[in-house]
């Protein structure tokens, strides 16, 4: 069946004769036979478009095209776009417009665009949207792609450089040379040419492949596993089960280490990993998995939080008494006196909300490549991770070898959003199998396995009660959240705290009570997803605040202004708000969106709504107790002074942190952006950085880089001051020169100073580190969660159209004003905000993982789990307000997560404004809207004497 056949394909102009298996896809031939790894695999089912190539002039999904079907055809891949060393104008346009973030979808989007412009060099926006409608981008960079394709011809024959695009964005006036400038992304050239290597693009000599076997039942005891048939299959090199891996419990949260590398006794959800197979290729490994016989004693399972805490419910983690009753985490906070607060209120409103189990769905599937060195018991692991350090530490603890024996390398990462913020069984099993086989082992999740491994949003049941004075001033807030955590803790302890801790950062609330309950169920584990626990309570709060405003006859923006947080405030839960331009975001968003002309004045079916949000600029404490600085950087000046190397193990996952780090280094050193080399993220080459989570890198990594640069600069200024006979303090470095501030003509070339310094003392190196201010947070249990050196604030205004007959919601326009402190790079800043709006739109209107019979996911793929496409992307305007954060490098704070938080509330409020239906359970589906509209019609038609409790009974929808 697998006899090979000969196919002739002309790839990027070169005729190739290839012997392929009949089941080989064009994608696998390009990647595995021809090493053209610019073409990506995102789903393998034709749903995501990452594998798009142009075949005989037409865009095709190479994952759904058999190599045999490409016989005799002309195929162009992303590697074939650039000619003679010069980028194609389309590639330049993508770079200059910032039309890429993680880069994983970029090759496919470029190829769809190429097929379009070859047919139609001047496509209209709608034609571009249609052409790109099959290319999913989870970073939400659609608007930029649209402009990049529209403007591609501007770049025909134009030399390529890193300078900001001439129509480049500029929000704040700052006297900086590099910071605040929209220089092109550091990683852009590699990402538009397909040169950027993601973990699964790597190929090592002798490399083999491994796959995981997941449980087919939701809850049970493993009676027996028979792997003999799998071991006997030709091509299989190793098979491991729970008995073959270290008997340790691990977990990213040290408070609850409840996971095992492979299940030893018990499986707790459909997909729980029970065995792994390494084989010469993926197909063989997959076949071997089918030969493993697992005999389970099936146990009753629970699939929702209510059932999990019911008396007599099956216990999911009997190994530890603290998990009795399936209670994973319980939070009980009381700040101020809510009873008094509610007594003082003139109006109290309570409502229940549900936020759903959405998945991050990064475009790049998780992958790990392990190489065990037989000499010295050393491991090198390349992994698609947001947290090289936590991965490093987890490997050391579970494998029982010192961190010094382990090297973690983070190649390019195709998005994470929290899904890649902890070690996975791929990482551990790849390492184990490499040790057993003596071969490098590559493991990847399929799209379906990603959904099963999950670590997405918790399902949250939220009961919220707010009391206000007649003028809208908040007197008390009470929130109870039940979080369905799935089978393991993941980040869940912290999620349960975050769900409560962040509400008081936006509005002044003197009295606040929060009860959180995180419950185990037999579902994939929920974890940390962009906004970490906060987006759903924020959606609830923003919705309820609008209801209260309506009750009191106050404009929704006005009620927010009356309660808005102010700088220099300590919140009721002991969080210190430093800079805060929240009011500014509210008033400017109101004015820019035409709110006064629109709110309440649009025709039925059209609506406008406001939502607000904000987030930490890095967590105040690490996940595990440690005294290490959170971010660390080393800068080394090259001996002739014309180059600088920046060593930092920060995790670029698409958000643009590499670019920001290089800009900060260049600014502080006083050299041009393009003179800084960023050293690959590798634990051998750089010291600890906690990673890309809690929106921490710009502030924390940036401060470490800035300190390292200051220390380098001090050494050079010392040299120059001796030469000029002046005080080092009198010098300034900028634009490749070091000169006297008061006499700019008196100075020296930066490179000359660097050479002199090197000649005098050898390598010129500066180190920098950052640790947050000490003693952040209150002295109560969980008081650390929500602490941060700085907080972001934003206001978003959504405008929607609701089809009153079908319930379909179209988001027409979004206006966002954010306080992110100093913007280091306007292009990556706006890219993050735009991406948040697109992602939030998905969570508001489309997304939910659906659990079917027996705990099997019903939609673990991008065909049934719909994320927004370019066709859903509204017109977006984003603006950074003038703001300066003293704790941040050059005044900067976060943007990546805070910008997601206003989106769901804004859409829900706009939908209500459009049609009078208040949907309190996400996502806001057409069906729920129709239900609400019908209830409204019935309510109106009902006799006046009839009571109207039916409105409240209608799940997820109610009417005004």
């Amino acid at each position: 069946m697998s006899s090979e056949m000969l196919v002739h394909i002309t790839v990027n102009g070169q005729a190739r004769a290839l012997a392929v298996k009949p089941n080989a896809t064009l994608l696998s031939v390009l990647r595995d036979h021809l090493d053209l790894t610019g073409t990506k695999k995102g789903c393998g089912m034709g749903d995501c478009g990452a594998c798009t190539v142009v075949m005989d002039g037409e865009p095709v999904m190479s994952c759904l095209t058999l190599a045999a079907a490409a016989d005799g055809k002309q195929v162009t891949t992303v590697e074939g776009l650039a000619a003679g060393g010069d980028l194609h104008p389309l590639q330049k346009s993508f770079v200059k417009h910032g039309a890429l973030q993680c880069g994983y979808c970029t090759s496919g989007a470029l190829m769809s665009s190429k097929a379009l412009i070859d047919r139609n060099p001047a496509p209209a926006p709608d034609e571009i949207r249609e052409a790109l409608s099959g290319n999913l981008c989870r970073c939400g960079t659609y608007g930029r792609m649209l402009r990049a394709v529209e403007g591609w011809r501007e770049f025909d024959g134009v030399p390529f450089d890193v300078k900001p695009h001439e129509h480049g964005e500029q929000d704040q006036a700052r006297d900086h040379a590099v910071v605040g400038r929209g220089v092109t992304r550091y990683d852009a050239p590699d990402k538009v040419t397909g040169r950027a290597k993601y973990t699964a693009d790597l190929h090592l000599p002798g490399m083999i492949h491994a796959k995981l076997l997941g449980s087919r039942i939701a809850h049970g005891i493993i009676r027996r596993i028979d792997v003999s048939k799998a071991r006997a299959l030709p091509g299989v090199l190793a098979v491991i089960t729970g008995a073959d891996v270290p008997d340790v419990w691990y977990g990213v949260s040290p408070a609850r280490e409840d996971e095992q590398i492979l299940a030893r006794e018990r499986v707790r959800y459909v997909g729980d990993e029970v065995a792994a197979v390494a084989a010469v290729d993926e197909d063989t490994a997959e076949r071997a998995l089918q030969l493993i016989e697992v005999d389970y004693e099936e146990l009753p399972a629970v699939f929702d939080a209510e059932a999990a805490v019911a008396p007599g419910a099956p216990v999911i983690h009997p190994e530890h008494p603290r998990y009795a009753g399936n209670i994973n985490t319980r939070v009980d906070w009381h700040f101020g006196d809510v009873a008094r607060g509610f007594a003082e209120a003139d109006h109290v409103r309570a409502r229940s909300f549900v936020g759903n189990r959405t998945y991050q769905a990064p475009m790049e599937p998780h992958a790990a490549l392990a190489r065990w060195e037989p000499h010295g018991d050393r491991l090198t692991l390349w992994a698609s991770t947001q947290v090289p350090h936590y991965l490093h530490r987890s490997l050391s603890r579970t494998l029982g070898i010192p961190m010094g024996n382990i090297r973690v390398i983070r190649p390019s990462v195709g998005g994470g959003f929290g899904a890649k913020a902890e070690a996975t069984p791929l990482d551990f099993c790849a390492a184990m199998l490499s040790r057993m086989t003596g071969r490098p082992v590559l493991m990847e999740y399929t799209r379906e396995e990603m959904f099963r491994h999950f670590r997405g949003r918790h399902k949250q049941h939220i009961d919220l009660k707010v009391g206000v004075k007649r003028d809208g001033t908040i007197t008390a807030v009470e929130q109870r959240v039940v979080l369905d955590g799935g089978a393991y803790t993941s980040f869940g302890v912290i999620t349960a705290y975050y769900a409560g801790s962040m509400l008081p950062t936006l509005y002044k609330m003197p009295n606040y009570r929060y009860e959180g309950l995180r419950v185990y169920t037999n579902l994939p584990a929920s974890g940390a997803f962009r906004g970490h626990g906060v987006p759903q309570p924020r959606f609830a709060f923003e919705s309820l605040l609008d209801m209260i405003a309506e009750d009191l006859g106050i404009d929704p923006i006005e009620i927010r202004l009356r309660n808005a947080m102010e700088p220099g405030t300590r919140t009721c839960n002991a969080l210190d708000i430093s800079s805060c331009e929240f009011r500014e975001t509210l008033t400017r968003a109101r004015d820019a969106s035409g709110w006064r002309e629109k709110k309440g004045k649009l025709p039925r079916g059209k609506g406008i709504g406001v939502g607000c949000g904000g987030f930490v600029s890095g967590a105040g404490y690490p996940i595990y107790r440690s005294d290490f600085p959170h971010s660390n950087a080393v800068i080394r000046v090259h001996e002739d002074g014309t180059g600088v190397s920046l060593h930092i193990a920060a995790a670029e996952i698409g958000q643009g942190s590499d670019t920001v780090m290089v800009q900060i280094a260049a600014e502080e050193l006083g050299v041009p952006y393009e003179q800084v080399w960023l050293v690959e993220c590798d634990t051998v080459l750089a010291s600890l950085d906690l990673g890309a989570y809690s929106s921490r890198l710009t502030l924390m990594g940036g401060n470490a880089v800035r300190m390292a640069a200051q220390r380098v600069k001090a050494q050079l200024c010392d040299v120059v001051s001796r030469e000029l006979g002046c005080d080092a303090d009198a010098l300034e470095a900028r634009g490749g020169r070091i000169f006297m501030k008061d006499h700019p003509t008196l100075g020296m070339e930066w490179a000359v100073a660097a050479r002199m310094a090197f000649s005098r003392t050898g390598p010129v190196v500066g180190t920098g580190s950052y640790r947050p201010p000490e003693n952040l947070g209150g002295d109560f249990k969980g008081g650390a969660v929500g602490t941060s050196p700085a907080y972001s604030f934003s206001t978003a205004i959504a405008e929607v159209t609701v089809d009153l007959e079908t319930g379909y919601v179209t988001v027409d326009r979004f206006t966002d004003f954010s306080d992110a402190g100093t913007v280091i790079n306007p292009v990556t800043f706006h890219g993050q905000v735009e991406g948040s709006i697109v992602m939030g739109l998905g969570e508001a209107l489309l997304e939910d993982t659906v659990v079917g019979a027996g705990g099997h996911l019903s939609n673990p793929n991008l065909h049934d789990y719909l994320i927004p496409t370019i066709r859903e992307t509204p017109e977006i305007r984003t603006v950074a307000v003038e703001s300066y954060e003293p704790h941040g490098p050059f005044g900067a704070k976060e943007i990546g997560e805070g910008s997601l938080l206003p989106v769901m509330g804004a859409i829900a409020n706009a939908v209500y404004d459009a049609c009078g239906v208040r949907v309190t359970e996400l996502p806001i589906t057409p069906e729920k809207i129709l239900q609400g509209l019908r209830t409204a019609a019935e309510a109106i038609e009902a006799p006046a004497s009839e009571p109207m409790p039916a409105i409240l009974q209608s799940p997820g929808a109610a009417v005004r």
Binding site: G44, E130, T446, E448, T806, T869
Partner: protein, 291 residues
């Protein structure tokens, strides 16, 4: 994820393909664009151990006109159907249905023959073709036959094809004078999403009255189904909003929707009513009658 295990055959002509198909029987599947078939392997919905690739069969390609009828080869891609001036001239709603399928990358590989033969209930081109009164031409080991498109579909993912039989072409007869068509669908997302419900309509007008009506429902029954009671209610009447609302309600009544991930049966019925209304209005307008 299942490993795709199959032997690959690429017959040089249709007769050879049919003979091979007959010989291998249920253990074989015909491969056209592969955009439905290959994912079906991975979903373990398709397990045939032999794939018979049809892409060498030139006689199944192309879109042309024969004796006034539009003949669309089974291997015509969805992109070709969507872009064809002949299709748009004959029955634009079919081109619109084609345009609504998947993404550009899918449409450039997927074929109309595949869209029919995989017989997924939410497929877009079948209802449009059925509304246009299409026939399918089948070629098999036993020779050629033709049948009304609506009879071709026998159940979800089931068709009237015999072993070894290939859908050679879809024939859209010359459309009646004074007729107009429409294809209306509802999906959860604008870009690349399956229909939750769809209605294709053809209205023929004469002297200010509807003299013939065909309404085909998609994604709300095991097969693309003709709403005959709704059609009967339209005939002989002058078009009006009230009439269309009535027909819409009848369509909703006739539909046999299921509840699945994309929507509940009740929601689908509501959609059918709305979509039928919209389809009738557009079809009437295209037919030259004022709705």
């Amino acid at each position: 994820m299942a490993v795709m295990d199959f032997a690959y055959h690429r017959p040089a002509n249709l007769a050879e393909a049919c003979a091979l198909g007959e010989r291998l029987g249920a253990d074989a599947a015909f491969l056209a664009g592969g955009t439905e078939l290959l994912p079906d392997y991975q979903r373990q919905r398709e397990t045939a151990r032999h794939l018979i690739a049809l892409d060498g069969l030139e006689e199944l390609r192309g879109i042309g006109v024969e004796d006034g009828s539009l003949v669309i080869g089974g291997l015509a891609t969805i992109a070709q159907v969507a872009a064809s001036p002949l299709v748009s001239a004959c029955f634009p709603a079919l081109a619109e249905a084609a345009r609504s399928i998947g993404s550009p990358q899918i449409r450039s590989r997927a074929t109309i023959g595949g869209n029919f033969c995989r017989a997924v209930p939410c497929a877009d081109t079948p209802p449009a073709a059925v509304a246009a009164g299409a026939l399918v031409r089948l070629v098999g080991p036993g020779g050629k036959r033709a049948m009304d498109a609506e009879r071709f579909f026998t159940g979800p993912r089931r068709t009237a094809l015999h072993p070894g039989e290939v859908l050679a072409a879809i024939v859209i007869p010359r459309q009646p004078a004074g007729s107009g068509g429409s294809y209306q669908r509802f999906a959860r997302r604008q870009g690349s999403a399956l229909a939750v419900a769809a209605v294709a309509a053809r209205i023929t007008m004469n002297g200010g009255r509807i003299v013939d009506a065909r309404l085909a429902l998609g994604a709300v029954a095991p097969v693309p189904m003709l709403a005959t009671r709704a059609a009967a209610a339209l005939v002989g009447e002058p078009p009006s909003a009230h009439l269309f609302a009535l027909a819409g309600a009848l369509c909703a009544d006739e539909a046999l929707p299921i509840t699945d991930l994309r929507g509940t049966a009740d929601f689908r019925r509501e959609l059918v009513s709305v979509l039928a209304n919209r389809a009738l209005a557009q079809a009437t307008e295209r037919a030259g009658g004022a709705p």
